[in-house]
C-alpha cells in the first residue's frame, strides 16, 4: 500500500510488503488504529470516545455567549410605551426607585408573551441604565431593517457580530443556528480528521529500523 512514486516521493516498500499491508488493510478493525501487532486497549478507545463526547457536551454554548440585540428589542419597545414612561417620570419616586419599578413592570409584561428569547433573557439580566444606553441604537437598527440577531451587545455598544452571512445587498444567506456555527465547524473538523487519519495510517509505507543499503545517499 506504499506509494510507488520515484524521487523525491520514492517508496521504500517492496511488493511483498505491499501485499502484507493490503492484507492488514482488509482484515483489521477500528479504522486501522488498532494495528495488527499491538491492539489499542479497549479502555483507551473508550477514553478517546469519552473525550469527544465530553468536548461537545462541556463546550455546548448554553452559557457565556454574548447577548444579541434581538433579546432586548421588546424591552426597548416597552420602555418607550406610555405606561413605563409614566413610571419613569413619576416625581414621587427617586431616580433609582423609578428605574426599578419600570424594569419590574417591563419584565412582568413580558411574562405574558411567549418568546424564543426567554432563556437568554434570564441569562442576560439588564438594568434600566444599560437599556437606556443601547435603546437608541436598537431603534435605529430596527428602522434600517437590520436583523437584530446578528448584532451583539458589548457594554454600551451594539456591534455587528456577523462576519460572513450578510451580502452587500443586505440579503442573509445563512443564519447563526441557535447551537452556534463554531459547533458545526467542530463536528465537521472532527469527522474529516478521523477520515484523514484512518487513510493516512492505513497507507503508511513500510517501516523498519533496518537500513536500506540499496539506496545511495
Amino acid at each position: 500500500m506504499g506509494w510507488t512514486f520515484s524521487h523525491p516521493l520514492y517508496s521504500l516498500t517492496t511488493e511483498d510488503q505491499n501485499k502484507e499491508a493490503q492484507y492488514v488493510w482488509e482484515h483489521e478493525n477500528l479504522g486501522g488504529i488498532a494495528e495488527n501487532n499491538n491492539p489499542l486497549p479497549r479502555p483507551v478507545i473508550g477514553l478517546l470516545l469519552l473525550t469527544y463526547i465530553t468536548a461537545m457536551a462541556i463546550t455546548f454554548p448554553l452559557y457565556g455567549q454574548r447577548p444579541t440585540a434581538a433579546i432586548f428589542a421588546d424591552y426597548v419597545t416597552l420602555m418607550n410605551s406610555a405606561e413605563v414612561q409614566k413610571v419613569l417620570h413619576d416625581k414621587k419616586l427617586s431616580h433609582e426607585a423609578a428605574d426599578e419599578k419600570a424594569m419590574a413592570l417591563i419584565e412582568k409584561t413580558l411574562q405574558h408573551f411567549d418568546s424564543p428569547y426567554n432563556f437568554q433573557r434570564q441569562q442576560h439580566h439588564i438594568t434600566m441604565n444599560q437599556l437606556r444606553m443601547i435603546a437608541p441604537k436598537i431603534v435605529e437598527l430596527q428602522r434600517s431593517g437590520a436583523d437584530l440577531e446578528e448584532y451583539t451587545i458589548v457594554g454600551p455598544t451594539v456591534a455587528k457580530a456577523n462576519f460572513f452571512n450578510i451580502q452587500p445587498d443586505g440579503t442573509v444567506i445563512a443564519k447563526q443556528p441557535w447551537w452556534d456555527k463554531g459547533y458545526t465547524i467542530a463536528v465537521w473538523w472532527f469527522l474529516v480528521f478521523c477520515a484523514a487519519v484512518i487513510i493516512t495510517v492505513k497507507r503508511l509505507p513500510h517501516f523498519t529500523w533496518q537500513p536500506d543499503h540499496s539506496i545511495a545517499h
Partner: protein
C-alpha cells in the same frame, strides 16, 4: 567551539553541535531559573531592591520568560534534535559546521534579545515580546539553519521510513517557522485591535502546542524505547498522536480570548478543539506507558527513564487542565489568575523540562562516551527539580483559585494581595530549589565531560558499573 567555526566539515567530530547546544541549554536553564527565582522574590517581598529601576518586575519578567523558552527549552530541543535525528536516520548530521555556527549565533542572538527586553525595548505583546529586527534574527539566523539541519538529515537518512520522533522534529520545525512569522505579523505590519490580540495568542498558543509539547513528546518516543530496549508499543498510535496534534492543537488559539468580543462561533470552535487535545494526550501517554511494560524497575533505577516518565506523568494533569480550563464555564473563573501561571509552568517546567533533561543527560553521555559522573548528584537534581516544581505548581494553583474567587465576588484587590502572600513565598522557595538543583546539574555534567568513566563502544552508559 571557536576552533570548529572555520574547520573543514570532516574535521568536526560528530555530535559537536549537540554538545554545544546541550551545555548552552543547561547554562541558560541556570540563568532563566535564577531570573525566575529573583522575580518570585520580588513578588513575595515587594520591598526587596525597590530602588533599582532596571531590576523591577516589569523589566525582568519577559527576560525570565524568554531566557527559559529560547535559552533552556529551545536549545535543549536543538541539542536533542542534533543527535537524535541522525541516530534515527542511521546517518550523520547534515552539517556539523552549520550546527556549530547556528549554536554560536543562537547564543549571541539570545543575549542581544534579552538585553533589549531588559532595557525595556519590547513589542508589549506577551510571549512575542521582541521587536521586529530581533524577530527576523530569531527566524532566519536562529531557527531556519537549525530546521535546515534537521530536514536535510531526515532527507539523507539511511533507514526505511521515518520514525515517529523524526516526524515530530521535522514537522514541528516547519510549523514553528510558520507560527513565528505569522504570529509576529502585528509587529511587522502594526496590526491593532482584535487582529493583534488574536495573532498574539495564536502565536503564544501554537508555540506551546506545535513546538514545545510535541517536541518534548518526540524526545520521550526516542528515550524510552532506546533505554528500556522495548520497541515503541504502537507506531500507528504515534501517528494518531502526531496528526491529532496538527489538527486539534493548531486551532484553539481563541480559547485564550474567551472574554473578548471575538465572534462567538470562533470561540465555540476553539473551545471544542481545546478539549479535543485530550485525543493526542491519551494516545501519547498510553503509548509511552504501554512501552514501559516489563521495564518499570528502570523508573527507579535509571535517571533518564525517571526523568522521562515523570515528565509523561506530568503530561496527564497538564492536558486535563489544558483541555478543560479553556471552556467557557471554567475560564470565567480562572482567567487572569495564578492558575494560568501554574499551568504554564506545568507545561514548561513540568512536562517538557523533565523530558528534555533526560535527553540532555543521555545525549551528553553517549556523545562523549562517558558515564555520568555522579548518580547521586543526578538524583539530587531530580528531586530538587520535582519538589521545587511541585511547590511552585501547588502554591500557584491555590493562589489562582483564591484570585478567581476574589474576582467573582469582587473582593478588594489589596485583600487578595494579603491572602496570597504565603503562596508567593512558597512559589519563591520552589523556584529557588529548581535554580539550585540546576547549578548542581551543571557541575555534574561538567565533571561527566572531564572525569566520567569511558563507556565502551556498543554499550549503554547505564550498563557500565561505577568503578570509583
Amino acid at each position: 567551539m571557536l576552533k570548529y567555526l572555520f574547520a573543514n566539515e570532516e574535521d568536526i567530530p560528530q555530535g559537536s553541535t549537540a554538545l554545544f547546544f546541550a551545555f548552552s541549554s543547561i547554562a541558560w536553564f541556570i540563568i532563566g531559573t535564577g531570573l525566575g527565582s529573583f522575580n518570585a522574590a520580588k513578588l513575595a517581598f515587594p520591598d526587596f531592591y525597590h530602588n533599582v529601576y532596571w531590576l523591577q518586575f516589569g523589566h525582568m519578567r519577559q527576560v525570565h520568560v524568554h531566557a527559559v523558552i529560547f535559552g533552556w527549552i529551545a536549545m535543549a530541543f536543538a541539542a536533542s534534535m542534533m543527535y537524535i535525528t541522525p541516530t534515527l536516520g542511521n546517518t550523520k548530521l547534515w552539517s556539523e559546521k552549520l550546527g556549530v555556527w547556528n549554536c554560536l549565533l543562537y547564543n549571541v542572538g539570545l543575549c542581544l534579545a534579552l538585553a533589549l527586553l531588559w532595557s525595556g525595548m519590547t513589542s508589549g505583546r506577551e510571549y512575542s515580546d521582541h521587536i521586529w529586527p530581533i524577530d527576523l534574527y530569531i527566524a532566519f539566523v536562529m531557527v531556519v539553519p537549525w530546521a535546515l539541519n534537521v530536514w536535510m538529515t531526515v532527507l539523507n537518512r539511511r533507514t526505511q521510513g521515518i520514525y515517529t520522533t523524526n516526524w515530530f522534529f521535522a514537522a514541528c520545525m516547519f510549523m514553528t517557522i510558520i507560527v513565528f512569522l505569522i504570529g509576529n505579523l502585528p509587529e511587522f505590519f502594526h496590526l491593532t485591535g482584535l487582529n493583534e490580540a488574536y495573532m498574539t495568542w495564536w502565536f503564544a498558543h501554537n508555540i506551546l502546542g506545535l513546538l514545545i509539547t510535541p517536541v518534548a513528546a518526540a524526545i520521550t518516543y526516542y528515550i524510552i524505547p532506546k533505554i528500556t530496549g522495548n520497541p515503541l508499543y504502537s507506531h500507528r498510535v504515534g501517528h494518531l498522536h502526531f496528526w491529532s496534534i496538527v489538527v486539534f492543537y493548531s486551532t484553539p488559539a481563541a480559547h485564550h480570548l474567551m472574554s473578548s468580543p471575538l465572534p462567538e462561533w470562533l470561540k465555540s470552535f476553539a473551545s471544542v478543539e481545546g478539549v479535543l487535545i485530550l485525543v493526542p494526550a491519551i494516545a501519547y501517554v498510553s503509548n509511552i506507558l504501554l512501552t514501559m511494560q516489563g521495564k518499570w524497575s528502570m523508573f527507579i533505577e535509571n535517571i533518564e527513564v525517571k526523568f522521562t516518565i515523570t515528565g509523561v506523568f506530568l503530561a496527564i494533569p497538564l492536558n486535563m487542565q489544558g483541555g478543560f480550563q479553556q471552556t467557557r464555564a471554567i475560564n470565567w473563573y480562572i482567567h487572569g489568575t495564578g492558575w494560568i501561571v501554574a499551568h504554564a509552568h506545568l507545561a514548561l517546567l513540568g512536562f517538557s523540562t523533565f523530558a528534555e533533561a533526560a535527553a540532555v543527560y543521555y545525549g551528553i553521555q553517549v556523545l562523549l562516551r562517558r558515564k555520568l559522573y555522579s548518580s547521586s548528584l543526578a538524583n539530587f537534581h531530580f528531586w530538587m527539580l520535582l519538589i521545587g516544581f511541585s511547590l511552585y505548581w501547588v502554591s500557584m494553583t491555590i493562589a489562582g483559585l483564591i484570585q478567581g474567587a476574589a474576582k467573582i465576588y469582587e473582593v478588594p484587590y489589596i485583600d487578595v494581595v494579603i491572602a496570597e502572600h504565603p503562596y508567593m513565598i512558597v512559589r519563591w522557595l520552589g523556584g529557588t530549589m529548581v535554580f539550585l538543583g540546576n547549578i548542581v546539574w551543571m557541575f555534574n555534567m561538567y565533571m561527566t565531560a572531564t572525569a566520567g568513566d569511558h563507556v565502551p563502544e556498543g554499550r549503554q552508559p547505564a550498563e557500565v558499573a561505577y568503578t570509583r
